[in-house]
């Protein structure tokens, strides 16, 4: 039982990280980026290129991955969001789906179809409590999620950028009229969203392996988590992620492993029926 809790929370932490990336972009431009999973995949492969192929020190590999992801996030915004800005949101959402497919194929061309592993930045024997095993990497995932959650909370609520983001999300034209650098704000949101995906990729690659198609399922789970938690809600993304990880793990153990993916969507539908805006939903959820 204890082991299932640990593994469920570790899986849920990954889902939560993907959802946090989705949230940043959603809170700024009210768009769901369905290529978030593929950005995660790019982060994993860029990390592997740095740490494994070019044998960079792990800290440098992580730093260069985050920098690369920031640039990719901005390029993504220029290619996908800007040309369709002001059009119906579903057009942008469809374009993000298409971009996800493009990114998968680019990764296949660059890195090939082989699954590859990235070493964990933390080493050491696993901790054992009454038969429950917690690996160092799982601990690192929990800590990383906690730090990111705190930083994102502070950024959104205590910094000027957070206020600019909220203003941009509420009314882009008015924000521009009052002198808010709207494009720069959106660019920072895309950059941070991509960085968060990159971090999720770096965390996932040591335990799940990196391959070009790894992002599809994780991105979709990140979306489910966002819906469960309430789109745009920070605690909702984290609690929703952990909740989904536990549901999947316990469902696979005690009900049937054959329907593991189905649990996510059953829970999502159940939550939407009971709480149409998610567990912690805010008004902006109606734009999803």
């Amino acid at each position: 039982m204890g082991q299932l809790v640990v593994n469920g929370l570790a899986l849920g932490s990954i889902y939560a990280l993907v959802a946090l990336g989705l949230l940043l972009i959603f809170n700024t431009v009210q768009i769901v980026n369905f290529a978030q999973g593929q950005l995660l995949m790019l982060g994993a492969f860029i990390g592997i290129s740095g740490a494994v192929t070019h044998e960079l020190p792990m800290a440098l590999a992580w730093a260069s991955t985050m920098l690369a992801m920031a640039l990719i996030g901005i390029v993504f915004m220029v290619l996908v969001y800007f040309p369709l800005r002001g059009r119906p949101p579903f057009l942008v959402i469809l374009t993000t789906i298409a971009m996800g497919i493009v990114l998968e194929n680019i990764a296949l061309i660059i890195w090939g179809p082989l699954p590859v592993s990235l070493p964990s930045p933390v080493r050491g024997p696993p901790l054992r409590f009454s038969g429950v095993v917690i690996s160092m990497h799982q601990l690192f995932i929990f800590c990383t999620l906690a730090v990111i959650l705190l930083l994102q909370y502070l950024m959104l609520t205590k910094t000027r950028f957070g206020i600019l983001m909220q203003a941009t999300a509420q009314d882009l034209h008015t924000a521009r009229l009052v002198g808010i650098p709207v494009n720069r704000t959106i660019a920072v949101a895309f950059a941070f969203g991509a960085i968060l995906s990159g971090i999720a990729g770096l965390l996932v690659a040591p335990i799940f392996l990196a391959e070009p198609t790894m992002g599809g399922s994780l991105g979709l789970k990140g979306f489910v988590v966002s819906v469960i938690g309430g789109f745009g809600n920070l605690p909702g993304a984290v609690i929703g992620g952990l909740f989904l990880g536990l549901i999947e793990t316990f469902g696979a153990r005690y009900i049937s492993s054959n329907f593991r993916d189905a649990y996510a969507f059953i829970v999502m539908i159940a939550v939407l029926v009971a709480w149409p805006r998610g567990l912690f939903g805010e008004k902006s959820s109606e734009k999803v």
Partner: protein
């Protein structure tokens, strides 16, 4: 009069034979296989084997002086795309068509190939692929039915394990194999203590592994693709679950072993199509190295069987020429065609592989324990 008639008959037969044997300036082969999507690795390894053989044959002068052109179409991971890919291949009027190891794709394509009346060679592993009644379809790779019989038998009789858990990938491949394994275990009076599966996109199999451990399994029968088998074995190591593990050749595939530690890989068994890495023949090891160097992807059992298939076709076309029914008939009567690692022999269904390999990992190095033959061969 009779003599003149006989001469006429001989003359006619010769002309007919010469016409049937006539090959175009280049001999067109078609191949559909997944090169994108989550099955891209398997499809790429198969494509590499076929392409490598074609390049070798062409470099050596082709088939009776005629070069082979291999047209490849990507099926992605969907059966609909596989059918579309096959229709594009058929439009090119190939002499022979090869398709992938993904059984649902082959099921979707078979009717179209039957209508095109073209010899059809596949690696699809579902036992029922060759039971469709197609006289054009042949398989040159081991199938699940063989594995489903041989793996339980080896586990129970040779490894003396009687409380297996079963963990398979929840797709046509894994679930099909699971049914066969359960039936074979029942014949051996063994009941699996736990049966679990995971979706092809799943990354966390810890719940299934814990269930199998909690139910007291003494062994694990594991069926999946290299990437998910890697995760299962890694997670067994992380959870400290030590079970005698046996399954398909993904367990000993180079792509799996590359991502495992020696402790995670060590001692696991596999039964399946032949892999080149365990050969003691330096020529075969050199071949595997050249394939790896060229494509940056290790050669596996599918690479070997698709490579052999091309050479089998070369041998047949050299004998019967470029006549589709004649090629089909020759495939159907194949006997002791010597491939890279095994000899191929056609049975009544169109299956040509009846010898499989038993492997065991010593650390991260797979070792060939010995061949195992399908009953009756």
């Amino acid at each position: 009069m009779t003599g003149a008639a006989l001469l006429c008959l001989i003359g006619f037969t010769k002309t007919a034979s010469a016409d049937a044997a006539a090959c175009p300036a280049t001999i067109p082969f078609g191949l559909t296989t997944p090169l994108t999507g989550n099955l891209a690795l398997l499809g790429t390894q198969a494509r590499n084997g076929a392409e490598f053989a074609v390049d070798e044959i062409n470099a050596a002068g082709g088939i009776s002086g005629k070069k082979i052109t291999l047209t490849t179409e990507d099926t992605g991971a969907s059966s609909t795309d596989a059918l579309n890919a096959m229709n594009r291949i058929i439009e090119g009027k190939p002499l022979v068509i090869m398709s992938s190891m993904i059984s649902p794709h082959v099921f979707a394509q078979t009717e179209s190939v039957n209508k095109a009346e073209t010899p059809f060679i596949v690696g699809a592993t579902n036992a029922k692929v060759t039971a469709q009644g197609s006289k054009w379809l042949f398989r040159t790779h081991a199938h699940d039915g063989q594995l489903a019989d041989l793996i339980p038998e080896y586990l129970v009789k040779s490894l003396k394990k009687t409380k297996p858990g079963i963990l398979v990938v929840a797709d046509d491949y894994g679930l099909g194999a699971s049914k066969g394994i359960q039936a074979a275990l029942a014949k051996l009076n063994v009941t699996p203590v736990a049966m679990a599966s995971y979706a092809p996109s799943d990354k966390d199999m810890s719940a299934q592994l814990l269930e199998i451990k909690d139910k007291g399994a003494d062994s694990l029968i594991l069926f999946g693709r290299p990437s998910d088998i890697t995760l299962v074995l890694k997670q067994m190591g992380d959870l400290g679950i030590k079970l005698t593990t046996i399954g398909n050749t993904s367990i000993v595939a180079q792509t799996t072993l590359n991502n495992l530690s020696a402790a995670e890989a060590d001692g696991n068994y596999a039964i399946g199509g032949m892999i080149p890495q365990t050969s003691s023949d330096p020529k075969i090891l050199d071949w595997a190295k050249r394939v790896q160097d060229k494509y940056k992807v290790p050669a596996d059992n599918f690479t070997v069987s698709y490579y052999d298939s091309i050479y089998m076709l070369k041998s047949i076309i050299e004998k019967v020429g470029c006549d589709k029914p004649a090629i089909r008939d020759a495939l159907a009567t194949t006997k002791d065609f010597k491939g890279m690692l095994i000899s191929y022999q056609a049975d009544a269904n169109g299956d040509l592989t009846h010898t499989l390999g038993i492997y065991r990992n010593k650390g991260k190095t797979p070792e060939f324990t010995g061949p195992i033959k399908e009953s009756g061969f």
